[in-house]
C-alpha cells in the first residue's frame, strides 16, 4: 500500500531524516517507535507531503507521490491525523468532519450522499462526537478532539491513515478507547501507520514495527520479535 525508500527530509539546515525506508502492507497496522527527535513525526510529515522530502521515494499504491504536495496526496487517498490533533477550533464538530469529506463537494441540494454516509459511519464509531456535533471543536476536551481528528481523517474514506501520537496528553481511560477504535478500524480492513510513545500499546496493535534512531530505521520486525530484542526492550519498553 505504502512504500517509502531512502527518505530524506529536514527543516532549514538541519536534516532530520537521513534515509528512512519502510513498507505498509494493505490491511495492516505498522507502528513507528523511537526516542524523541528520532524522526518519527518528520517521517509522517514527509510521507503526507506537509513537509517536502529532499530525497527518496514515497509510493502510494504503486505510484510515486513524493513532492506532490499535501493536498494532492490527500486526494490520492492518504489521510493524516497530525500530532497535537490540529482540529479547526472555531468550527463546529460536524463542520470539522464535513471538511474531511473534501472529495465529495456539496451540491445544490445539500451535502453529497457519500459525505453523509461517511458522517454516519464516523458518528457510529464515535457516539461522543454525535452528541457534540454542534459544539465548537476548540471547546472539546482533549480526548474528544483526538476522536475528531481521527474521524476527520476517516471522512475521506482513505486507503491509508497516518496517526501521529493519538494518545498524547490523554487520560488512561481515553487512551484505551482510542486503541479500541484503532483495533476496530483494523478489523474493518483499514491500513494504518502509527507513531506512538506508548511503545507497549503500539506493539499491542501493530502487525509490524519499525524502531527509528537518528533519522533512519534501526530495527524492525514483528512485535514478538522486538519484545525479545533486549536492546529494544531496555531502550523503549522501559
Amino acid at each position: 500500500m505504502l512504500t517509502v525508500t531512502d527518505l530524506h527530509a529536514g527543516y532549514g539546515l538541519s536534516e532530520v531524516l537521513v534515509g528512512a525506508s519502510l513498507e505498509v502492507k494493505p490491511g495492516t497496522i505498522v507502528a513507528l517507535i523511537g526516542a524523541n527527535g528520532a524522526g518519527k513525526t518528520t517521517t509522517m510529515r514527509a510521507i503526507s507531503g506537509t513537509l517536502a522530502p529532499t530525497r527518496g521515494q514515497v509510493r502510494l499504491a504503486g505510484s510515486r507521490v513524493d513532492g506532490l504536495g499535501a493536498a494532492r496526496i490527500a486526494r490520492l487517498g492518504l489521510a493524516h491525523a497530525p500530532e497535537g490533533r490540529k482540529v479547526f477550533g472555531p468550527l463546529s464538530t460536524e463542520d470539522n468532519l464535513l471538511l474531511g469529506a473534501f472529495r465529495w463537494l456539496p451540491h445544490l441540494f445539500g451535502f453529497h450522499r457519500q459525505a453523509r454516509q461517511a458522517l454516519a459511519r464516523v458518528y457510529d464509531l464515535f457516539p461522543r462526537l454525535a452528541e457534540r456535533r454542534a459544539q465548537l471543536a476548540g471547546t472539546l476536551s482533549g480526548g474528544e478532539q483526538q476522536m475528531l481528528a481521527i474521524g476527520r481523517a476517516l471522512m475521506a474514506r482513505p486507503k491509508i491513515m497516518l496517526l501521529d501520537e493519538p494518545s498524547m496528553g490523554l487520560a488512561p481511560v481515553i487512551v484505551q478507547e482510542v486503541f479500541r477504535t484503532i483495533r476496530r478500524l483494523k478489523a474493518e480492513g483499514m491500513t494504518m501507520l502509527l507513531v506512538e510513545q506508548f511503545a507497549s500499546a503500539a506493539l499491542g496493535v501493530a502487525d509490524h514495527v519499525y524502531v527509528m534512531e537518528r533519522g533512519r530505521v534501526a530495527v524492525s520486525g514483528t512485535p514478538d520479535e522486538l519484545r525479545r530484542d533486549p536492546r529494544v526492550l531496555a531502550a523503549y519498553l522501559g
Partner: protein, 658 residues
Amino acid sequence: MLKRLVLVRGAEIALFVVLGALPLAVHSPYALALLTLLAIYGVVLIGLDVTVGYLGQVNLAQAAMLGLGAYLAGIAVTRYGVGIPLAIVLSGGFCTLVGALLALPALRLEGPQFALATLSFTALCATALNELEWLTNGAQGLQIPRPLLLGHEVDARAFFWLCTAILALVWLAMRNLLSSQWGRAFEALRDSPIATDAMGVGTYRHKVAGFAFGSGLGGAAGALYAFDLRYLQPQTFDYGLTVTLLLGVVLGGRKSLWGAVVGAALVALLPNLLSSPPLFRAFSGIAFALALVSGVRGLVRRKTDAFRALAPIAVTLTLVIGSFLASNIEDWRRAIFALLLFSVVVGLPEGLMGFASAGLARLFRVAPPDLPPPAALEQVLPARAPDGSVLLELAGLSRHFGDVRAVDGVDLTVKAGTIHGLIGPNGSGKSTLVNVVSGLYTPSGGQLRLRGAALRGGKPVAAARAGIARTFQNLQLFGGMTALDNVMVALRGAWRVPLPLVLLGLGRLEELRGQAAALALLELVSLRGEARTRAADLTYGAQRFLEIARALARRPDLLILDEPAAGLAQPDVQRLLEIIRRIHQRGITTVLIEHHMDVVSELCEIVTVLDGGKVIAEGSPAEIKRDAKVITAYLGAAEPDAPAPGAAPAPSAPAETP
C-alpha cells in the same frame, strides 16, 4: 575573541570612519545634503525598527513622530531661541511622551488594528500641523534659521558630522539595549506573549516602553531634520513618508542596526537615483542581478518555491526594461517604490542585510563570546528545608465559561516541599485550574491564597512575581532564542541596572552574572551543552526540560508542571523523573499534572483527582489507584477485548508492564 572584535566591531568602526571622512573627499554641497539626510534617516529607522522589527508590529506613526519633533524644534528655535542640543532633547522627550500615550491604547491591539491606529495618528498629526496656523504657519510652511551649537555657527559640513555622531551614539545605545534583558524581552514577547507574562516580564509594559523609545528617536531625528532642511511643510510628514520609512526598514533588513542604516541610505538616495536615468539603469540592473542570483540559487538548492524565486526576477526585469523605455523616470516614482517593496517582501523577506549576513556568516565563522563558568546551584536556587506549612490554598475556587463550569468549587491544599499530583480525565478542569492559579484566568468565585496572602488572579505577571512559575502543556518556548536566553529572560532578581545605565553599556557585568546563573539551571536539567542551540532546534524532550529550567529561573515557591511527560519516549521519561527529583531535593513545592500514572505514583506523595471540575478523590497514589470512582472516571478497567494472550500487554497500564 579577537576575531570577533576585529570583524564585528571593526566593521562598525569602519562604517562610521568612512561616513565621517566622506565630506573631506566629496565637496559637492548636494552630496553633503544627501549624506546628512542619510544619517538622520538612520536614526529614524533605528527607532522604527524597534516596533516593526523587534515588536513585530506594523507601525505607521513614525513619519508623524518625525514631523512632531521637527515642528517642535522649529517652534522652539524661532520663538524662544533655543540651541541645538536643547532642541534635540526637547523633541526627543516630547515624542517619547506622545509615543507612550499613543501606545497605551494602541498596543492593546494587534496586527492590522494596530497598524490602523497608528495610521490614523499620522492623519491626525498631518491635519493638526496644517490647521494650527498660529503655531505652525500652516500650509505656508515654517522657515527656521539654523541655530547655534554651544555659541558657534554650524556650517553644512559640521552639521553633517553632528548628525553622524548622533547616529553613532544611537547605534551604540541601541546595541547596548538589545544585548541586555530588554532586547531579550523584546524577542521573547514576539515568540510567546503568554510565556513572557508567565515569566514575570510583562509583555504590555515592554511593548509600550519599546514603542515610546522608538518614537523618541523619531522625534530627536525630527529636530535634526528641521535644522537640516530649514523649511518645514505639514504635507511632508504624510502617508508618502510613512511608506518610504517602512520601505527603508523592510528593504534594509529588520532587527538589524546595519539594516536600518542600509535602508536609510537607500531611502535617502533612491529619489535622487530616479532623477538620473543612467544611474537608475545601473541600480535596477544590480537589483535584477541580485534577484537572479538569489532566486536561481534558492531554486537549485530547493530552498525556495518557484513563486518566491521568480516573482522578484520578473519585477526587477520590469524595472530594467522600464528604465530604458520611460523618458522621465521620476513620474514613475511611486510605482517603482511599490514594485521594489513587493519584490523585497516576496524575495528577500529578511531584507538586504538579512540576505547579506547569512552569506557573511558562512564566509567568516565568528564564534560567539565565551560563556562564564556556571554559578553554584546553591546561589541560583537556594535549598529550602520543607517546614510542612501550607503553601497554596484554594477554597471553593471556580471558573465558569458561560454555562460550562470548568472548575466548580475546588478546595485544595498544597503543603510546602511536597510533590502534589493532579490528575483527572480530559476536560475535568485541570488545565483551567492551573490557568486560574497562574493568573491567566480570573476566578469566577472562591479564594486563592499563597502563603496565606490572597491572590486576586487574572494577572499572570502578578502571579509570577508572587512566586508561581509554570510550564505549558503545549510548549511555549521562545523558539527563535537560544536555550541560554530562554532561561535568562525568566531570571528573577538578576536585573537591577536602570535603563539609562544600560544604554551607556554598564549592564555587562550583570549580564555575565545572569549567564552564569542560567548555565547552572541548564546544568540542572542536563542541557548545558545545548546552551547556544536555538530552542526551536532542540529535540522535543529537550524542549520540555528547557521549559522546566526556565520556570526554575523564577526561583519559584510553587512550580506547576503541566503534563511534562506528554509525548516523551521512555528514556526521556526517566530523565524527567531524575530532574523532578533534583528539584524536589532543593525543597521546591511542585504541582504535577500528568497522565502517565507511573510517573505520578513514582513521584507524588499526595494526589488529587478532578472530574467535572470537582475534586472526587485525594490521597496517596496507592489509595487513588484503589478508589472505585477514580477507576471508573479515569484509570479504566483492564481491557475486556484485549488481544490474544501473549500478544500484547493491555494498553491500560502502558508503561508499567515491561
